[in-house]
Amino acid sequence: MTTRTPPRLTTARAPGRLTAARKPSRGHHDRALFGRFRHGYIAPGALLVAGLLYLPFLWTVYLSFTNYDGLSPATWAGLANYRALLHDPALLTAIRNTLIWVGGTTLLPVGLGLLVAVLSYNIKGGAWLRLPFLLPYAFSGAGIGLVWGVLLSPGGTLNHVLGFFHLPGAHTPLLSYAPLNTVVLIIAMTWQQIGVNTLLFVVGLQSIPREPIEAAKIDGASGWALFQRVIWPLLSPLTTVVVGLALVASLKTFDVVWVATQGGPGRTSETLAVTMYRDTFVADQYGYGSAVAVLLTVVTGVVSVIYLRQQLSRRERLNG
């Protein structure tokens, strides 16, 4: 560390005061330069995070091995909660729905976002053509749940719009049956999220170096071939991030489902995050709800690790 001190320092106003004269140990030097209370600057952050994020996390892991209703003291239950998870039909529905969410919201908003970005990139008025896709981003997850819950309600606005255009689904109650209710909510989320992905991809396209594209054009590549062979590989670091973010967010889908359907009817549109909330705070099974939360965390962790490893090995293949 001391070697990083610029030499300029010794020729400054107080020559040698900090470096030459007092240099018996690194600690001594650091204290002179940085003061005694360096750790005081990190303490608020470390304490807050430890107390309100790490401690509850560990507590939830413990509670997942107990029977607990929030009133009487928690009693040790071993693996009983996890064994019960295996035989819970609502949980299977939640896992299935969560997987549909993961597939749907990593494919649709990312794919359509990329499409809009590529189509609108480098043409006159591109920013204006992108505007309709950016507007819905104003809505929060709860806001989307609220307005789409209304639009999608049985015999509601969307049914009539479908009927007006003689499209199928005019008489289908869109939020009443699984897995249709999950699919239409994914479409609602796609409506909201395409904008931010478009923006990210436009920034990505702008930061692609010109030379490889010009070289490929000289070689005669254009249109789809140019995109597939040159642009898509150059975008892949960004795509990795965008898909990764969508993946993790989709595993935790809660707001839009809770506000639009509360996981119903009959728990058919629940995701893991909704199941956790319902089991805990509606059914007062704090231990069981904690086990669902742990499951959600494990699934999120495993999926993230698999995704990152696959992306890394893919990049190694491309580079080597």
């Binding site: 330069l33 600057y41 309100l52 509670l63 809009v116 749940g145 609220l146 707001d255 704090y286």
Partner: protein
């Protein structure tokens, strides 16, 4: 050349068609939110009503659902928590990068690791602990958790930002006799305002849009943030709240975050690029 023009034309055409599909729900929401509260009929939802009752519908929700109180509290949380979190995150980044804390990266990982797990892992203990320590349904309790959840991201950006600040600034100020606290407060904080602003916008939006912590840790209308209030509203759309009012609420609660984003857009992109240094 002709072929190229045809390709561009096709691109515009696809974008316009997709754009119209994307505008349709927005149109339905705005038209029906502006409809007189009693005049909603799903069969004619796409026909404008001719009158503009958007503000009346918003006012009606404001009064009936106690949304006014919720909005005030939410504004308090969304301003105060990110502000404190940014200060704490900047302090942490400053100590790790500029004060060259020993095991600085381990400290950083400790703080940043706080955002890795899903919020669901925090809910039960927070609910139980908040009930026990009289923090449940208090504004202080919500500010506390929103601050804690905002610290890791603030520390992440500020650590990156301070890495790009020349260390000689610190040394020069020290040689002039300035205390560490003074150097932080008078030099490093003002220096990083664009990054601070960018973090603030993102964390304001996050706090404003939060549903989960708000509905778990508060219940009374004056304390509960606005998104849980909105979700309670939806539960009785068919029983009580008329559709135009519900849609007007959906627009109303979306306004502050988007207004802040538009107002700060320029600093925002600049701050983010700086944060990535």
């Amino acid at each position: 050349m002709a072929r190229r023009r045809a390709v561009t034309g096709a691109r515009v055409l696809v974008l316009v068609i997709l754009g119209l599909i994307w505008l349709a729900p927005a149109y339905l929401i705005v038209v029906n939110a502006a409809r007189p509260a009693g005049a909603y009929n799903p069969a004619h939802a796409w026909v404008p009503s001719g009158s503009f009752d958007l503000l009346a519908n918003m006012r009606r929700a404001w009064d009936a659902a106690g949304l006014g109180e919720s909005l005030g509290s939410t504004l308090l949380y969304s301003v105060v928590s990110p502000a404190i979190a940014i200060l704490i995150g900047a302090l942490a980044g400053f100590s790790i990068v500029t004060l060259r804390l020993r095991h600085g990266f381990a400290w950083f990982m400790l703080i940043f690791g706080g955002t890795v797990f899903p919020s669901q892992m925090l809910l039960v203990p927070l609910f139980v602990a908040y009930s026990r320590f009289n923090l449940y349904d208090t504004r202080f309790g919500l500010i506390l958790i929103y601050t804690a959840i905002s610290v890791p991201f603030a520390a992440f950006v500020m650590r990156n930002f301070f890495t790009g600040v020349a260390f000689s600034i610190f040394e020069a100020a020290r040689l002039d006799g300035a205390s560490t606290a003074r150097i932080f407060w008078r030099m490093y904080l003002p220096l990083s305002w664009s990054a601070l602003a960018a973090i603030f916008v993102l964390e304001f939006t996050f706090t404003w849009n939060d549903l989960l912590f708000g509905m778990t840790l508060a219940q009374s209308p004056g304390v509960r943030p606005v998104m849980p209030a909105v979700s309670a509203l939806q539960s009785d759309v068919y029983a009580g709240t008329p559709v135009p009012v519900a849609l007007a609420v959906g627009l109303l609660v979306s306004l502050p975050a988007i207004a802040l984003f538009l107002a700060t857009q320029r600093f925002f992109t600049r701050g983010l690029t700086l944060g990535q240094l």
